[in-house]
């Protein structure tokens, strides 16, 4: 099994005629994802790697069930695109675009909650259930994706897209594989943080352990710790914390928009303590993730 997407998931790309999206469309089709088309207003009738382009999302949802949409449009048009997809009844939306002001993110996230839909991102590489489907640029070309992501029973959640691939690679080189990996996004406000995705992994019998990449800034790790304390399943979780050097540099921003340290609870030191208190194993190096997971699962 896997969470969020599998071999049957049908989706579209909004902004499909952009340079980055055209490449992504090819990678998705090559990998075996069911990409049924894309939207670029004013470009109805074109094709991108054999899939049709429409002016509106509704042009697709009127005729068939669409499970998800990948948003690859410039920041100024992102909110409109997400709202359109939500209004058309799409329940899973991956927002790849970065540099969207957080007020706009909060708006479409709140609308998604009202529609019982889920947002992944913004500022993320998307989702992959290895061997089945991927939704977003995660892993790059089909060939590179297959090399880094081997099917298996570890779930990955990461605030960094690149580090999602690095972790997957370290798992596969140790003989482990991935059930579903999610690049959750690097912004201050994101659609789904660790604690909001954990219940899905907890319900997935094929996921036996979780790998987490975490960073300074925000409350995501502390919320995860609180969730884990309450949850019944107690899946083994191994977390890696990057950016320890930032603890001594409050107010500075490195890497992602969400990393700014504004108070003690935002520091890596505090987050590590809180995660360990909840029973999460925190490692110093990426290559320790597979080692620890193997110990904890057996």
């Amino acid at each position: 099994m896997s969470i969020l997407i599998d071999e049957g998931s049908k989706f579209i790309i909004q902004g499909i005629t952009g340079r980055e999206a055209v490449t992504m469309a090819k990678e998705l089709i090559d990998y075996g994802s069911k990409l049924v088309g894309g939207v670029t207003p004013g470009k109805k009738g074109r094709e991108v790697h054999g899939v049709p382009v429409e002016d509106t999302v509704k042009a697709f949802t009127d005729n068939q069930k669409i499970d998800g949409s990948i948003i690859v449009v410039p920041p100024a048009f992102t909110t409109d695109a997400v709202m359109e997809a939500l209004d058309a009844g799409i329940k899973l939306i991956v927002v790849v675009t970065e540099r969207i002001p957080r007020k706009q993110v909060a708006q479409f996230v709140e609308f998604a909650q009202q529609q019982n839909a889920r947002i992944i991102g913004p500022n993320c590489l998307g989702i992959i259930s290895p061997g089945k489907s991927k939704m977003g640029g995660i892993g790059g070309s089909a060939e590179a994706t297959k090399r880094a992501f081997v099917p298996g029973n570890i779930g990955i959640m990461s605030r960094s897209g690149g580090m999602t691939v690095e972790i997957a690679n370290s798992l596969s080189s140790s003989g482990l594989g991935v059930s579903t990996a999610i690049s959750i996004g690097g912004d201050v406000i994101i659609g789904s943080s660790y604690a909001e995705l954990m219940p899905l992994f907890d319900q997935d019998n094929d996921t036996k352990g979780i790998a987490i990449y975490s960073e300074p800034g925000g409350r995501a790790e502390i919320l995860l710790a609180e969730y884990v304390k309450k949850s019944n399943r107690k899946l083994p979780i191994v977390a890696f914390m990057a950016g320890k050097f930032m603890d001594a540099m409050p107010g500075m921003r490195f890497g992602h928009a969400g990393t700014i340290v504004e108070g003690k609870a935002d520091t890596t030191e505090e987050k590590i303590i809180r995660m360990q208190e909840a029973g999460i194993t925190v490692v110093e190096r990426i290559e320790e993730i597979p080692m620890k997971l193997k110990e904890l699962i057996s």
Partner: protein, 402 residues
């Protein structure tokens, strides 16, 4: 992007929130002129982007013109937390009967703005919340529904205020909410709001932060406040090295090769991407290395941009060698980064094999990349060597040379 107090007050005034009369001065004579016009005891406040002004001596009261001149001169020369003031505010000293606190900020857990209000203003709000929880109200605001006055009234009423004060305070709070929403702020704070002896309310100090990503949407306001594009308002002013790094990144829009932060070490870092850079910087420090900089490359930057960034870093005074490292890349091409880095080192007048301690960027087009590195005899590793190990190799090489 943080606003100075005098800028925040201009924004409050636009939304009909009463602020003290007075003005700003950049020299003692102008401060004295304002004092003369006000014709009463004044307060002189340092305009510096730092908290703790009062403690540091950046706020002084003055009853006569000579002390106003003297204090202004002192405050203008006073750096607080390494930051220099840009000017001083000279305002009438107010007769206050009570102080309040009001702020709107983002609650990342609820993913909504939260209005925080207290009838114990002027002091640290977190301390108040801990010791006197019934004196602090927190009211979440919808991102979708228009905000009406009632949200502000709930916030004021929840700390036990009623009567005429409830209406006056909620009018002020509603104005603050409108400012927060209109300008994509991450913080809009009035601390304190003062109730004057005549029963009226006034904003004595204001603090606003605008989200960096939103600056382009609010050019009108920034022009009105005379804030130009180069004025980034980071927690410390950028160094020349960082300004040059930003200029490299701005050369073209393809990918990122910049986001440079200066450190004082001898090992130049060309690292990426967002999360990879954080991981690698820690790994280098942990191995005992001394980074000369933080930076980010990612999103497949051009050869030219990568070369320019390399040149900047390898030429930085004090840099002995550089390390080129990333996580496994899927969208950035290894060969393009390799070509860019080698070009940059050569153009800076060095041999790649002497300057590059290690190249660890596995991923797409790596075979092509490794060919180029072989040609220039640069040591590289593939994905079987972890980021942590690569950082260790690099630091060890630095130590061996010494």
């Amino acid at each position: 992007m943080r606003f100075y107090e005098y800028e925040s007050k201009q924004v409050l005034k636009k939304f009909n929130i009463t602020i003290p009369s007075g003005g700003i001065a950049t020299n003692p004579d102008d401060a004295m002129k304002i004092h003369k016009e006000l014709n009463c005891e004044v307060v002189i406040k340092s305009q510096v982007l730092s908290g703790g002004r009062m403690k540091a001596g950046g706020v002084k009261f003055s009853a006569n013109y000579e002390t106003t001149k003297k204090y202004t001169e002192e405050i203008l020369a006073l750096t607080i937390n390494n930051l220099k003031p840009v000017c001083v505010i000279v305002e009438p000293k107010s007769g206050i009967s009570q102080e309040y606190y009001a702020a709107i900020t983002w609650d990342g857990v609820e993913k909504k703005p939260v209005l925080i209000f207290s009838d114990m203003g002027g002091i640290d709000i977190e301390e108040v919340a801990e010791k006197y929880p019934s004196h602090v109200s927190r009211t979440h605001l919808s991102n979708l529904k228009p905000i009406y006055d009632y949200s502000a009234k709930i916030a004021v009423s929840n700390v036990g205020i009623t009567g005429k004060d409830l209406n006056s305070l909620s009018r002020m709070l509603k104005g603050l909410i409108d400012i927060f929403n209109k300008y994509d702020l991450t913080l809009a704070e009035i601390n304190p709001i003062a109730k004057l002896n005549d029963g009226s309310f006034i904003a004595l100090d204001g603090h606003m932060d605008m989200e960096a990503e939103a600056r382009n949407y609010h050019q009108d306001l920034l022009t009105e406040l005379n804030i130009n594009k180069e004025d980034t308002r980071q927690s410390r002013p950028p160094t020349q090295f960082e300004i040059d790094g930003a200029a490299v990144d701005a050369q073209d829009t393809r990918g990122v090769a910049g986001n440079v932060t200066e450190f004082s070490g001898n090992l130049g870092l060309i690292i990426g991407a967002g999360g990879g850079s954080l991981t690698l910087f820690d790994a280098v420090t942990n191995a005992g290395g001394k980074p000369a900089n933080y930076c980010e490359i990612g999103g497949n930057p051009s050869v030219k941009k990568t070369a320019e960034l390399t040149k900047l870093i390898v030429s930085k005074p004090g840099v002995e060698k550089i390390a080129v490292m990333m996580n496994v890349v899927s969208n950035t091409r290894v060969d393009i980064v390799a070509r860019g880095v080698i070009k940059g080192v050569i153009e800076a007048g060095f041999k790649p094999k002497d300057k590059i301690t290690i190249f660890r960027i596995p991923g797409s087009w790596e075979e092509e990349g490794f060919k180029i590195l072989n040609k220039y005899e640069v040591e590289y590793v593939d994905r079987t060597v972890s980021m942590y190990e690569a950082a260790n190799i690099s630091v060890k090489k630095m130590q061996e040379e010494q």
